[in-house]
Amino acid sequence: MEQHRIIDKQLEVLRDRILLMGGEAETALQRAMRSLVDRDSDLAREVLAHDDVIDQLELKIDRMTIEILALQHPAARDLRFVIAAAKITPILERIADHACNIARAAIELNDEPQLKQYVDLPRMGNRAADMLRQGLDALTKSDAEAARRVISMDKEIDDVYHKIFGDLLEIMVNDSTATARAAHLLFVTKHIERIGDYVKDICELTVYMAEAAFIKHTSESA
């Protein structure tokens, strides 16, 4: 029986805002990667400028979750949703921050000749963007199964991370002129790896929201 409660409209708005913010984070990541791979510093600067919007969204969502908790007293599923929203928002903001860091690195690297063909890096970046998109999808649908699948994707990111790490280390050892650029690329790789971990956190919160199960720090989230 569908009752139209006062809280329903507010939960709907909250859900839409989270998705909006997720979409913004995803876009930021993709553009940051493209600014690196296509060596487009203008694009990178756009990413940096746009970060303000994402920060403002975070503040809005924060205010909203507090208001819903204080005034509407959600219970059970609604409560888990609002709590999950409150915890996911800062994670998305940090993902966007990492995207900004990638963009900054791109600006630095684009001033210098390209170190090598980017093969693994864009692959890793795409993987991370996929993870983010699928994670947000699972969040929208409250799909704990899908969330668990996304968690398992992180392994691949970690594997690629180790591979790139090894390759870049070799370059740095063999070619001293390339050290600075290689270092930047190392950091970019680290940012992408961190983004993968953050998406895992989002998925754990999705499982909590759907099943009231805390899988953080358990073997499920290894």
Partner: protein, 280 residues
């Protein structure tokens, strides 16, 4: 998955949604009721001390406070229902649309039509459902003919979300309805005379949770057209439905604030103690 473009527009409605709750409002609110220096006495006992308050139009204002704090007494001064109590005395002014309702020569009967009231225990008349709603219309001669009367009764019952449940038994006794339905009938009866303000004295305190929820949704719907003042001892109810809240204690007004601020960060320590359950 919602495409980003559609999300943008829903966020825009969210902007409107936020803007409606005053905090940093865009448009100034029109004040419907303005109370100044109000003191109220039952014989020698003073029940209200120096109340000053403004109630904006087409919003819901809630009065909260522990038992005996004067909130119901104050509510009843707004439509001069306290006049029926022997020994009741009012000092100060209550202005509705800038006209003092305690000025000598005020038409109290007309005042009570424009400022309707719903009581804690529903009090339908021992008449049929139709006659209950039609009573106010009839005595105020508001209907031109039978068809007009039927229309007005139907509208009042629709506006109080009761029409579908009673449309097939309009001639049945009002006492055959459930508690929640009776209360909505009393609301319909009050709405039928086209008031501008609706006062509600703990309207849901005698009802079960489902009936209470229906009344709360109704209140949120009604504020589009009426100014609503609701007394409630249930703080959660106040936080759910109201735009502004006023906290009373021992006959004094301690604080009045937007509901959002009242329940997240009130100005007065006393208010915070009450809301967090440290007393009362």
């Amino acid at each position: 998955m919602t495409p980003l473009s559609q999300l943008d527009s829903s966020v825009k409605t969210a902007e409107n949604f936020e803007e409606k709750k005053p905090g940093k409002t865009a448009k100034p609110a029109v004040i419907k009721i303005s109370v100044a220096d109000l003191n109220f006495f039952y014989g020698k006992t003073q029940a209200l001390h120096n109340i000053a308050l403004e109630i904006p139009e087409r919003e819901v204002m809630a009065f909260i406070g522990p038992s005996g704090c004067g909130k119901s007494t104050f509510l009843r001064t707004l439509n001069r229902m306290n006049d029926t109590i022997p020994g009741a005395r009012v000092e100060g002014s209550v202005k509705i649309d800038a006209k003092n309702i305690y000025a000598p020569g005020t038409d109290v009967v007309n005042l009570r039509r424009k400022v309707g009231m719903v009581f804690q225990k529903s009090n339908p008349f021992p008449k049929s459902i139709f006659d209950n709603v039609a009573y106010g219309i009839r005595i105020n001669q508001m209907a031109r003919n039978k068809a007009d009367l039927n229309e007005r009764v139907e509208k009042a019952l629709t506006d109080s979300a009761l029409w579908d449940e009673v449309k097939d038994r309009m001639k049945a006794s009002a006492f055959g309805l459930s508690g929640g339905q009776q209360q909505r009938l009393c609301i319909a009866r009050a709405l039928a005379v086209e008031p501008e303000v609706v006062l509600m004295d703990e309207p849901a305190s005698a009802l079960d949770p489902i009936a209470t929820q229906k009344i709360e949704e109704l209140i949120v719907e009604l504020k589009k057209n009426y100014t609503i003042v609701i007394v409630t001892h249930n703080m959660q109810q106040a936080s759910r439905v109201s735009d502004k809240t006023a906290f009373f204690l021992l006959g004094k007004l301690i604080e009045v604030n937007s509901t959002r601020r009242m329940f997240t960060n009130p100005d007065q320590r006393l208010t915070e103690d009450y809301i967090t359950g440290r007393f009362g």
